[in-house]
């Protein structure tokens, strides 16, 4: 096993929750990511859930996950001393990550122009809801506003209730992960050309990837797709196709596909129903190979679904999934967090690693390297930083004496 691919590079991470994951990915790739917080700690430390439900700044599980593998310092960049220290740090860094409102860095004299004057090859990555410029760039947002703006929300939820977002905030994760990918592209170009640049990421555009083909139904057919809850929308015009089915102890996921993709699953499922005495003439007679899903009437669909649902209700989601594995067909459980924690495949892949949090006296299961590489694997080595945990280490590296640090602390710079 080799080393993470980006060892020897440094990033200054000025982001709030909109950008944490970007630095986390770079850190997993080997970059020395220094999370810079204002003195007293980042306000994003207030985001739950919390360790043992204790809402304290050093116990945010959100912080734990998305700031793991980073070092942490405190610095008031807005002060003259703070700014000088920041510029010193910048000289030895390769990336700056930020998620302030557009124009903020400029307003404190640390915009891209200034940063690249201090360090001509630096890559500045900015993550904002709508990008740095444009008519909506100053809009006030939050996750639900961004999910509404990207076009996913209108497609989610039951038709007789309001559109919903996914219950755990997703928009900023799309923006931050996208930012990591795009930052790597800028990095590759710097390796070739020696030039830095400014990477301007829009959360709205990043999250739009989750709307897949929906926009083009309007563009090509003049159709605004409707949310359909547990049913599928967007495959055929007008017909509701079930995707999520109740079973004995929860739910399973099985869209009924036509053509090449679905024939095998559908046929083998019916054979399985047959073995358990739950197939009737109607379902036996279906010629899955030649069935044109797009042209089936709602009535026929309903009849197919009725029989399958009755069958699923006689089994638990685990029984259904295990048998699906045996038969190599596409029936998947609707997992709860508990199911995911107990998932056999993840255990086999050793996806959950252990992260020590000595201050809390615990070792927490932690999601492992998110993508694997045979030669330059990701390395997750260190828990998320405490407030100002690496002040001494980092500022001493810059040449400050212990006495300087005391003074800087007393004046509220660090």
């Amino acid at each position: 096993m080799g080393h993470a691919p980006l060892e020897g590079f440094r990033a200054l991470d000025l982001t709030d929750e909109r950008g944490f994951l970007c630095g986390r990915i770079l850190a997993d790739l080997g970059v020395d990511v220094i999370k810079v917080e204002p003195p007293g700690g980042d306000s994003s430390r207030r985001i739950g859930p919390f360790f043992r439900d204790l809402p304290e700044p050093e116990k945010s599980l959100f912080w734990f996950v998305y700031n793991a593998n980073k070092r942490g310092i405190t610095l008031r960049m807005e002060s003259a001393d703070g700014r000088e220290i920041f510029e010193n740090l910048l000289r030895g860094s390769h990336f700056v990550l930020e998620s302030f409102p557009p124009g903020y860095l400029d307003s404190i004299g640390l915009g891209y122009e200034e940063l690249s004057r201090v360090n001509p090859t630096v890559i500045l990555t900015s993550i904002t809801p709508f990008g740095q410029t444009g008519p909506h760039s100053r809009h006030k947002t939050s996750d639900i506003v961004e999910m509404a703006a990207c076009g996913l929300m209108v497609l989610c939820g039951d038709p007789d209730r309001p559109p919903v977002r996914i219950s755990f905030p997703q928009a900023c994760l799309h923006g931050a992960a996208e930012a990591a990918a795009q930052t790597m592209i800028a990095h590759y170009y710097r390796e070739i050309s020696g030039l830095g640049q400014w990477v301007d990421v829009s959360i709205q555009q990043a999250a739009m990837l989750s709307t897949f083909n929906s926009f083009w139904f309007w563009e090509l057919e003049g159709v605004n797709l409707k949310r359909a809850g547990a049913w599928r929308t967007g495959l055929t015009s007008g017909v509701l196709q079930r995707q999520i089915w109740p079973c004995k102890d929860g739910y399973v996921n099985m869209p009924i596909y036509g053509g090449l993709l679905g024939t095998r699953t559908n046929r083998l499922l019916v054979e399985w129903m047959e073995r358990e005495g739950m197939a009737d003439d109607f379902v036996r007679a279906i010629d899955w190979e030649n069935l044109d899903m797009g042209r089936l009437s709602q009535e026929i669909w309903n009849q197919i679904e009725e029989r399958m649902e009755r069958f699923f209700m006689t089994h638990t989601k685990e029984e259904l999934y295990l048998q699906a594995l045996k038969m190599n067909i596409m029936i998947y459980p609707v997992s709860t967090p508990k199911d995911i924690a107990e998932n056999e495949q993840l255990e086999h892949r050793q996806f959950w690693m252990e992260m020590e949090h000595p201050e809390l006296g615990v070792t927490l299961p932690f999601p492992g390297p998110v993508v694997r590489a045979s030669l330059t694997p990701m390395a997750v080595k260190r828990r998320a930083p405490l407030i100002g945990e690496h002040n001494e280490e980092v500022y001493t590296e810059l040449g400050f004496s212990r006495q300087d640090l005391v003074l800087l602390k007393e004046t509220g710079v660090i």
Binding site: I144, P162, M184, E191, A230, N253, V371
Partner: protein
């Protein structure tokens, strides 16, 4: 200004299909890599037969779903079961920097193109493999799509209303999560290869990537034993916080009020009806406790106004709000226009077609549209001539033998 290609001269032989793989290679193509998609004309990939289609008429080269993930790529159709087809692919691989694939584990090996074989053809090759559940483990060969993964990785459970069935967040959601991790690692591997000449094998599990976007929920289970559930539009730190019906047919606006100051602004915007002065709404805890009633009262106001009007009034007063955008709204979104989100290119079957660009603007090396998505086998001759140096006679011989199937 001459456009600068980040990945100038880099070649990707792309066997991947559907979402994650093609979205990943699109990113490389949009930044200048030569990406050659190898497809099978006798078994076209699933997106080629997925709607929507140009003018609603199905056809192998008419799917928008296929088109949007395949900008700036060359398209080749090769019958990999034909010995000369396999040979052709190997010749391309010998010139490639990256091979991308998204079959269930083991398929590439069946063609004799597993990682070890690939290395014999091109010692410094990077193999990018992505599938549902990774290259190892008991479930690595289980077929599936992102639509199934939405269930497996927890999103269906966490989308919708607690008193109703789980809800599908529209499409194969995890297909939109995984590519970013794949691109970051793939580009890091390319940078490493540039320095050292070493290739490697990348293994991206869509399931594992999907969980990463829910990781705090998982820690909440491990640490606190809490099994998080779907909760409509509930937020632990805001009320009102929901989508509210507005004037018009199925028109909605989201409003999110976090602080007391925002609450005061909100009350002013809606004209301060008497209920806004009620004591039960005067504190955040009060608003949370009576959220259901609050939602009803807020909606009494929003239904009298257009969604755009609600949003512009709220935004002007510093309250987070947004139109719940339909595809129609997306089409006219001035911000997306400003960002040049859609790239219009002329496609043989689809006509002038708005492709999606990249979600970031790189100041020195922005991604640019060069080529529309390929029709099936569109570049068979071009690739054979330009990249393999075949003569017309050699190409014709392969054509007659049915290699481009």
């Amino acid at each position: 200004m001459k456009w600068k290609k980040v990945f100038e001269g880099l070649m990707v032989v792309d066997f991947s299909w559907a979402g994650v793989g093609p979205i990943t290679t699109k990113c490389l193509a949009d930044y200048g890599a030569t990406v050659i998609r190898i497809e099978s004309a006798s078994r076209p990939e699933v997106l080629r037969s997925s709607p929507p289609y140009g003018e609603g008429i199905p056809g192998m080269d008419r799917s928008a779903y296929f088109a949007i993930y395949n900008t700036n790529k060359y398209g080749m159709s090769v019958d990999m079961k034909h010995p000369k087809g396999l040979d052709l692919a190997k010749k391309l691989i010998a010139k490639a920097d990256v091979v991308a694939q998204s079959f269930t584990a083991g398929v590439l090996e069946k063609w004799g193109l597993g990682y070890e074989e690939l290395r014999k053809i091109k010692p410094d090759i990077i193999l990018f493999s992505t599938n549902m559940q990774g290259q190892t483990g008991p479930y690595c060969r289980l077929p599936g799509t992102g639509v199934n993964l939405v269930g497996l990785s927890g999103y269906a459970h966490l989308c919708g209303w607690p008193d109703r069935l789980p809800s599908n967040p529209y499409g194969p959601y995890t297909d939109s999560v995984a590519p970013r991790f794949g691109i970051a690692m793939l580009v890091a591997a390319l940078a490493h290869r540039r320095k050292t000449g070493e290739g490697q094998w990348i293994d991206l599990s869509q399931f594992e990537a999907g969980i990463f976007f829910l990781a705090p929920v998982m820690l909440d289970y491990f640490v606190n034993g809490r099994i998080a559930n779907r909760n409509g539009n509930d937020s632990p730190c805001a009320a009102p916080h929901n989508a509210y019906r507005c004037k018009g047919k199925d028109r909605w606006a989201v409003v999110a009020v976090f602080t007391d100051r925002e609450w005061e602004s909100f009350c002013r915007v809606i004209g301060g009806p008497p209920w806004t002065g009620e004591e039960r709404f005067s504190t955040f805890l009060g608003r949370k406790e009576h959220e259901h009633e609050l939602d009803r009262l807020v909606e009494e106001w929003t239904v009298q106004h257009g969604a755009e009007e609600v949003v512009s009034l709220m935004q002007a007063s510093g309250v987070a709000a947004g139109v719940v955008k339909t595809s129609e709204d997306i089409q006219t979104d001035p911000q997306l226009k400003h960002r040049n989100h859609f790239w219009v290119m002329e496609h043989k079957e689809l006509g002038p077609f708005p492709y999606m660009g990249q979600a970031a603007v790189l100041s020195e090396t922005p991604a640019v549209p060069r080529m529309p998505s390929p029709c099936m086998g569109e570049h068979n001759w071009y690739v054979c001539r330009e990249f393999l140096g075949l003569t017309e006679a050699e190409f014709d011989a392969l054509l007659v033998e049915g290699v481009f199937g």
